[in-house]
């Protein structure tokens, strides 16, 4: 098991290296001149030239990539003399759009994304698994049909549509909640909750849909297993059979997918953050796209990649604990 984990982590690091290379190259090859974007429209050519040298855009692509990679571990100094500044390790580059180290920007925006993700994730697991279980236990009855309508709506309606609809009806029309304006939970917890409740719910309800389906089908499949029949034949109570036999089996794929979904969310819930104007990583990424702020894009992509690769490793390890049949000896 230990060797398995070591091997898995090693390959994860190789994968991240490859991701960093392709991400960096992809953005560097875009037909925009990063040096020209460092100052406004009326920029003088000599300022652009100076910035080009200062940010390292005069070097070859491979050299630039090497400096980026080195910066992650050793930090990076830009320019010389009075205009010099540095981004300490782990440096993901310097945003010329926001005149700030990318790592600092991510550190500012990530907590917002994390609060959004964690809250929504807890809600959607609760909603998804419970509605799925109710549907499975009442297969063919009205509860099942209601759950099926819920899943169809959830998987087919896009977040921005439902998000705007909810925002319009709750905030503008019914005026139950104020217009969202984010504040840190440590500064003003009440405002934080008032701001987060809608995005949490929208994200949770929409994501719960596929978990409802997964739980329902997984439970129904498990109920047809011989070992569940043997459980009944043993004289076990329905509750024990559901917990130890049916849910136990249905949870294996749910945990796997939930891990990956959660990691994907941590990389930035772009649409939800934009609709509810939450200053998270997703919103920052959108802004960076609009402004061609390449270092920010590379940085957020890398952070998202780290989450997804880490989640993959964790899910692989968790899988061995969940299903004894795939446990590596």
């Amino acid at each position: 098991m230990f060797m398995f984990i070591v091997r898995r982590i090693f390959f994860a690091l190789v994968l991240l290296l490859a991701v960093s290379f392709f991400t960096y190259m992809l953005f560097a090859m875009l037909p925009s001149d990063p040096a020209a974007l460092t100052c406004g429209k009326n920029c003088k050519p000599d300022v652009i030239a100076a910035n080009r040298i200062r940010l390292g855009y005069d070097k070859s692509l491979m050299e630039q990539y090497w400096l980026f990679l080195k910066g992650i571990f050793a930090g990076r100094d830009y320019g010389t003399g009075a205009a010099a500044f540095s981004c300490s390790a782990p440096s993901l580059g310097y945003s010329f759009g926001q005149h700030e180290c990318v790592t600092t920007l991510i550190a500012q925006t990530f907590p917002v994304t994390a609060y959004l993700s964690i809250g929504a994730f807890i809600l959607w697991m609760l909603i998804g698994i419970s509605t799925g279980a109710v549907a499975a236990l009442h297969k063919g009855k009205w509860q099942d049909r209601a759950a099926s309508i819920f899943t169809s709506i959830g998987v087919s309606l896009p977040t921005f549509y439902i998000g705007l609809l909810v925002l319009f009806s709750v905030v503008i029309w019914l005026r139950i909640l104020p217009f969202p304006s984010y504040e840190s939970p440590f500064d003003n917890f009440a405002t934080f909750l008032r701001t987060m409740i809608l995005p949490w719910l929208v994200l949770a309800v929409l994501s719960a849909a596929s978990y409802t389906r997964l739980t329902r089908n997984g439970m129904l499949e498990a109920m047809n297993e011989d070992f569940v029949r043997l459980g009944v034949a043993k004289g076990l109570t329905t509750r024990l059979i559901l917990r130890r036999y049916v849910m136990r089996q249905a949870l294996v794929p749910i945990v796997t997918i939930a891990g990956l979904d959660f990691a994907g969310l941590l990389g930035g819930a772009i649409i939800t953050e934009s609709v509810f104007s939450l200053p998270g990583m997703g919103k920052m990424s959108i802004r960076a796209v609009v402004e061609s702020d390449l270092p920010v894009l590379v940085g957020t992509t890398m952070v998202a990649a780290v989450f997804i690769v880490t989640a993959n490793v964790l899910v692989d390890i968790a899988y061995g604990y969940l299903d004894p049949r795939v446990r590596v000896k």
Partner: protein, 338 residues
């Protein structure tokens, strides 16, 4: 010695409601079971033998199946009793082993936990340590080598025969009066089959339990059972002792089954004797005797009237056939000798 009756089934009928129509899986099945006895139930796929077995523990889904008749065990009618009463009977008075021992075991828990769980549910006052020591003892009884180590292993770490031993251990942990074995050897290698049958016979003596052995294998019946029910199209067509079935079978379907076995054992070459045609669809059973389209002795009355069960011959066999008694006996002896 007259043994007490531990299970009494009267007029058991099971109808499944499917989108294609109602399926009469079991019709009017009655039998008695005495302790220490083994009753074999033989028949093709779809003859109703497995449905009969699962009805005995009320394992059929009540929303898709209607079960009527009565099943008495320890003074309780399994078909009408409260769910909590039936649950107390399941696994303690009557237990079951399944065809495929791999799919019958929960892959997520150790075998020790699964055996102990069956004990604890009927002995809620017992401690886990107690359950574990009883589990260990049971593992020894069913012939698992090195039980102290293997009690903490998972089902996939056992071979097919060993898994079936685990399933038997689960079934016998509460010392049930009746054990239902639904094709217990079908999924196993031939050499392992004999071991499992021997084990079941041995444990039957030790626990003095009755066994209902469901199989399509007449060899297994000859080896392990004393009484036999032959089922066809959801009905009992012959009910006799094993000796009578092999010396003087009384139903044309049983003649066909014996013919298929004998042609294999005797000639070694030539073609395998088969029963022409295929098992009937339970949705649209042939009118009259269900076997009539495949029967060489079929006549007018077979297509209109369902034959009643009646005693035929010197060995007390009961049969459901319209042929006259003397003809049944002479044809039956011929079939047995072939």
């Amino acid at each position: 010695m007259i043994q007490e009756s531990v299970l009494s089934v009267q007029n058991l009928s099971v109808v499944f409601h499917t989108p294609d129509g109602d399926v009469a899986a079991v019709s009017n099945v009655s039998f008695e079971l005495r302790s220490g006895e083994t009753l074999g139930i033989v028949g093709e796929s779809g003859s109703g033998k497995s449905v009969t077995a699962s009805s005995l523990m009320r394992l059929n889904n009540s929303s898709t199946a209607t079960t009527s008749g009565s099943i008495l065990i320890s003074g309780v009618d399994v078909l009408t009793a409260e769910e909590s009463v039936v649950r107390r009977i399941r696994g303690s008075e009557i237990a079951m082993i399944f065809q495929d021992p791999l799919s019958a075991l929960n892959p997520y828990y150790t075998v020790g936990k699964q055996i102990a769980e069956a004990y604890l549910v009927h002995h809620p006052q017992s401690s886990k340590a107690e359950a574990r020591s009883i589990t260990l003892e049971m593992l020894k009884k069913v012939g698992i080598p090195n039980p102290e180590k293997r009690i903490d292993e998972y089902p996939h770490q056992f071979s097919g025969g060993m898994r079936q031993r685990i399933v038997i251990a689960i079934a016998l942990i509460n010392n049930p009066k009746v054990l239902i074995a639904d094709e217990p050897t079908t999924a196993l290698d031939v050499t392992v089959q004999a071991q499992i049958l021997d084990l079941m016979k041995e444990l039957q003596k030790e626990f003095n339990m009755a066994i209902i052995l469901i199989t399509h294998d007449l060899g297994v019946i000859a080896e392990a059972a004393q009484e036999v029910l032959v089922m066809y199209g959801g009905r009992i067509v012959e009910q006799s002792t094993v000796d009578a079935l092999f010396s003087e079978p009384t139903h044309p379907y049983a003649w066909g089954l014996l013919g298929a076995v004998n042609s294999l054992e005797l000639s070694g070459r030539g073609s395998l004797a088969t029963i022409p045609g295929s098992p009937p669809s339970l949705i649209s059973l042939p009118s009259g005797c269900s076997f009539n389209p495949r029967c060489a002795y079929s006549s007018e009355i077979c297509t209109t009237d369902v034959p009643a069960l009646r005693v035929v011959g010197s060995q007390g066999s009961v049969t459901a056939c319209h042929l006259p008694n003397d003809e049944i006996i002479s044809l039956g002896r011929k079939a047995a000798a072939r």
